[in-house]
């Protein structure tokens, strides 16, 4: 029983990281149909920027803020340079373009930060034991911050005019233009959101899961699977998908074999794409965001 609780807890905290990455995929895909393969690199880059900033003497919080802001800026620049100039964007074209950005960012990170994996200093070091379950303070931080960020994003789409305008672009782009919403600004805003949540995921995960120039690959894939579980167009679905994936992975690793951990995501992806392409939490087209 304690084992199960331990695994569930570890799975939720891992899953919360996937959930944030997944929100990034959803934010961009809903507005422009772009699947951003550089989403995982946003997280890795944020981790590396924070680690090196702490290494050069910046206080942890300042380093985290710096990392999130720089990655948000990178995401915005990426949109302007790579997505904006394309006249007729299709999902296939977007895959090719963002794969290019992802590769470029990886090369840049390798060049600047070297090949080693490192962990950021945790917000609160150490752990405690609760009924036999060992809990790291950083895991609590992950759950707390990921929860707050997810709610904030959800609130943004449901309650603010800017959020509603993004949903309008996703649902009826022509009508959105006719009421005066600029699709190019909407796309830029969606990258800003994706960059920010991706970066937050990266700095939260780094103390436990470590960061290297190539850690964005797995994180991005897991986030993509999580988003797909939720149908790729729903923030709520992305969060649930992330948590589910995290828990299933840890349970598999704990009860079957650690070697199978990474296979879970792909198994889930295949099952969902074959059985329920709209996602397992997706209701109808009405259930967006």
């Amino acid at each position: 029983m304690t084992d199960l609780l331990q695994l569930l807890f570890a799975g939720l905290s891992q899953g919360a990281v996937y959930a944030l990455v997944a929100i990034g995929f959803v934010a961009i895909f809903t507005v422009s149909g772009v699947i951003n393969l550089a989403q995982g690199e946003f997280a890795a880059l944020a981790g590396l920027v924070a680690i090196s900033a702490v290494g050069s003497g910046l206080p942890l919080l300042a380093a985290v803020v710096l990392a999130v802001l720089s990655v948000a800026l990178v995401a915005v620049i990426m949109e302007r340079l790579v997505i904006f100039p394309v006249k007729r964007m299709t999902t296939l074209v977007s895959l090719i373009l963002t794969l290019g950005v992802s590769t470029g960012l990886k090369a840049l990170m390798l060049l600047v930060y070297g090949p080693n994996a490192e962990g950021l200093t945790p917000l609160t070091p150490g752990s405690f034991s609760l009924g036999g379950v060992s809990i790291r303070y950083q895991e609590l931080w992950i759950l707390l911050i990921a929860g707050v960020v997810s709610l904030a994003v959800y609130w943004f789409y449901e309650r603010t005019l800017a959020g509603k305008s993004l949903r309008a672009c996703a649902e009826q782009p022509v009508a959105a233009r006719l009421v005066g919403i600029s699709l190019t600004k909407a796309s830029l805003l969606s990258f800003l959101i994706a960059g920010t949540v991706g970066a937050i995921a990266g700095v939260l995960a780094s103390p436990i899961y470590f960061t290297s120039w190539e850690s964005g690959l797995t994180l991005g894939l897991k986030g993509f699977v999580a988003a797909t579980l939720g149908g790729l167009i729903s923030v709520r679905g992305a969060v649930l998908g992330g948590l589910l994936l995290g828990v299933l992975e840890t349970l598999t690793a704990g009860y079957i074999s650690t070697g199978l951990r990474d296979a879970v995501a792909f198994l889930l992806l295949i099952i969902v794409l074959v059985a329920r392409p709209a996602g397992i939490f997706g209701r109808t087209a009405e259930a967006r965001v």
Partner: protein
């Protein structure tokens, strides 16, 4: 003149669809543009509202040359386009659809936004009890009313509508056209594109008939409705007999519409 179109040419890439359209709508005037499927009516409205680039010709809105403006800027300048097939935002509530209709006025006075909304509600009281409902769950007629109300939220000077009667029962068509007449009486300028000539003739101040990208006839609805060229050729098979059949969305027209939408 609220809307003045001169020698307008537009099309899709290399395909020229409009070949020099002239169209005028004075302040507080309701102009109907009728024509068979494929005549270029929707293309005309898309060019007017900036969705399509204009190849040549000019568009003036309340004296301002707005040729080449994008849809955003045109919406802000005072042209609202109620598109073909309504295109409401389905998962957003009716209230949010209205809020987004006023997107270009978001930094304007709240009182003006509230007034626009109150007027839209007074025009279409059926929407009031449905404000919190997702727009996608409304009936076709209610969606059309919402699309018009959303256009009005932009506080336009000129409202252009693309086939508001499509797929609606005659009673609803009557309701919608009487609302358009009311808007005209309040001083709004309207251009209504229709295949349903009968509904359009009943309220229009003036009618233009389009055929293959050109305005081929123009004039007073009373005079035009008896013109054999209108009932015969340009509407693809007569307007008196045809009008009610088109409003009921017979399976055949449904199929052509589906093709049209892509």
């Amino acid at each position: 003149m609220s809307l003045e179109v001169r020698g307008l040419h537009a099309g899709y890439g290399r395909l020229a669809v409009l070949h020099g359209i002239d169209l005028t709508a004075g302040e507080g005037e309701l102009v109907a543009v009728i024509g068979a499927n494929g005549a270029g009516k929707s293309t005309l409205l898309r060019a007017l509202s900036g969705l399509l680039p204009v190849t040549s010709g000019t568009v003036h809105l309340a004296g301002t040359d707005v040729t080449g403006y994008g849809p955003e800027k045109l919406a802000r300048t005072g042209l609202a386009h109620v598109p073909e097939n309504r295109l409401v935002f389905p998962s957003l509530s009716v209230a949010d659809n209205l809020v987004l209709g006023g997107y270009t006025r978001r930094r304007g006075p709240a009182a003006a936004r509230k007034e626009a909304r109150d007027r839209a509600m007074a025009l279409f009281p059926r929407l009031e009890p449905r404000l919190e409902q997702a727009a996608g769950t409304l009936s076709g007629g209610e969606q059309q009313m919402l699309a018009i109300a959303r256009g009005l939220m932009a506080q336009p000077r000129v409202l252009v509508l693309d086939e508001p009667s499509v797929g609606l029962a005659p009673r609803l068509v009557g309701e919608i056209f009487s609302a358009l007449g009311q808007l005209r009486d309040d001083g709004l300028t309207l251009v209504v594109v229709e295949q349903n000539a009968r509904a359009a003739f009943a309220v229009a101040d003036r009618v233009s008939v389009m055929d293959r990208g050109r305005v081929v006839l123009e004039g007073d609805p009373a005079a035009l409705s008896t013109d054999p060229r209108v009932s015969g050729g340009f509407l693809g098979g007569g307007f008196a007999a045809d009008a009610d059949a088109t409003t009921e969305a017979a399976p055949a027209t449904g199929a052509t519409r589906a093709a049209d939408r892509r």
